[in-house]
Amino acid sequence: MKKVAMFIPCFVDQLNPEVGIDMARVLRRSGYSVDFPEAQTCCGQPAFNSGYWQEARPLAERFVKIFGASDADAIVCPSGSCTTMVRNFYPDLLAGSSHAADAAKLATRIFEFSEFLVKVAQVVDVGANFPHRVAYHDACHALRELRLKQEPRELLRHVRGLEFVEMPYCEECCGFGGTFATKFPMISSAMGETKAANAEASGAEYVTSTDPSCLMHIDGILRLRKSPVRTIHLASILAQTAPPAEAELASRAADAQGAAGKVAR
């Protein structure tokens, strides 16, 4: 059986534990054994993004050692942003250090969750059931650093009962931006308001994304404006496998019969 090691970002560990649990569930259902290297903490991105490269470097080295030692076939992370840190920024941060070669190797083994499912595991239907109208927010790092656009949408389109809608300006940043949200709360929340309004305009019940940090920000804004729209991480949608309603079972049976009939003819 193939094995993956989960990289659970520090804030997911502390603030969105269900995202990690749900990701593990989906990965197992897709035929992987799942490991969580417990020595992991943070990839160093908050310090790196704030200019504190000296502070980020030892954490990057530590990360490279921990995951470099893992015998897993791949490392999977429920955040495009933290995946970006390891894949795209470690090479800059560790340039010239003795860890540079290991970091380069690690960069080829780490994947954002939806990217892993679609590109590596080559699964688009994970057997999920989520009978709701859902819009997808393109998280910036997933979109512009990892170039993931269709992967999460592909997964959502294969969820039973899910009605996928695009929201206007789906590629515009939600305004989270890590420490940006606390350094410039007025700008960040203004950007979040636009995102929230666009989510509402889409008619979606849920906004989903690859990145729990964007969702936490959007959620805080949505609830503040008493919006009916809720946020949910992609992994948590894909983890839902409530048995399909009877009507759907019947229609599926009819589909199957129809298909069988076609083959017979």
Binding site: I8, C10, V12, D13, Q14, L15, N16, P17, V19, G20, I21, A24, F36, E38, A39, Q40, T41, G44, P46, A47, N49, S50, G51, Y52, Q54, E55, A56, P58, L59, R62, C140, R144, E172, C173, G175, F176, G177, G178, T179, F180, A181, T182, K183, F184, P185, M186, I187, S188, S189, A190, M191, G192, T194, M216, D219, G220, I221, L222, R223, L224
Partner: protein, 470 residues
Amino acid sequence: MSTPAQEFLRNAAIKSADLAHRRTIRTGIDHYEAAVGRTGSRFNDWEAARQRIHEIKWEAINHLDRYLLEFETRLKARGGHVYWAETAEDARRYIADLAARSNVRTVVKSKSMVTEEIDLTHTLEEKGVTVFETDLGEMIVQLRKEPPYHLMTPAMHLTRAEIADLFREKLGGVESDDPQHLVSVARRALRKAFFSAEMGISGANFLVADSGMMALTTNEGNGRLGSSLPRIHVAVAGIEKVIPRMEDLAVIWPTLARSAVGQPIACYNTLIGGPRGPNETDGPEEFHLVLLDNGRSELLADPEQREVLHCIRCGACLNVCPVFRKIGGHSYGTVYGGPIGSVLMPHLGGLNKFQHLSYASSLCGACTDACPAKIDLHHHLLQNRRNAVRSADRPASERLAFTLWRWTMMGSERFAFFAGVARALLRAAYGLGLARTSLDPMRPWSRVHAATAIPAKSFRALWKEQRGAS
């Protein structure tokens, strides 16, 4: 007196909450994006065009010494004057002296950001010279006594009705807010200026080395009038404006027009090679080109950020920037706003003074994707931040916080323990109803967000339990 950082914070906060401003900008940007989408499809391969611009500018910037001298030699051979200005002060003095020497009373200016950079208009006005901005957008902001809002579309923040009111008050003869009519009102006022001016001042979009000509792009023809009707034409250009060959314009012109305003090509692309020649019927008697350094050489000396000099000032990065869309062009408090300004200003105006702009970004990368010269803008913001931590003033509390943060994160048990304590305290505080009060420990966050639910258990705790159970 407040610092530029404090002023930025204040102005940005006010503008971010200005819903009318937000709507005006959204409308403008929607038009822009639709136009860019339409013209974008005329390029067989947009990415190839970007790559070509990147290569042309790379070649020019990395051989600046050679191409600038080639340009100068050829321009001088046709009777143009070239002045190398090391600082803004040098450039201002040269132009003001020239104006005084030539008894210039009236100047017509076409749109130029570099003349804003050296604050030329105020200098000339102090010497008693009347300066007319002749680009419609620039004219509007000049009448409002405002700096340009945007480096390509200076009056983007104003509605048609606001412009009609302004013209009614300042120019008269306004009958409606129909754009055609407003343009004709402006044109009437400007024609007089064009015919009375002794000096025309322009920027230069490109300096073509192999022909010794400067290229000037406008959509209103004002640059062409201002550079040919008055007796003297002065062009000011940053040293990074040089390009190697005339043929490079074949890709640069359409790319600039698309990125700037979503046009296939701009209405007026003019090549100027010096003053009126012996057998020529029009053109100025004197032509002066001021080559401005003003900090650019230092940027050139930095191999990591040298490519910032590749900028062709199209303004695309501003248009796509979600921060710019909220805070607007004036909040930056700098000549160059938006992402390119945030990258550039620490180099032109000092890292300590302008480092805050590099932090005022969510690092979304939309600017980098939009840049026709493929400047890695958002990564340069990261480099500016690193440079700021290395050599500028950062709050002692921030430095301490990251030292403590690093220590905590260097051990997983340490991290689990301290994060667990923080979570327990926060849950207790929220249990007491302190969420979103002044006693909320997450105050900077919860001022603008509903309180975040804090889970009782971390992922690693849940994982251990699950493993124990299975």
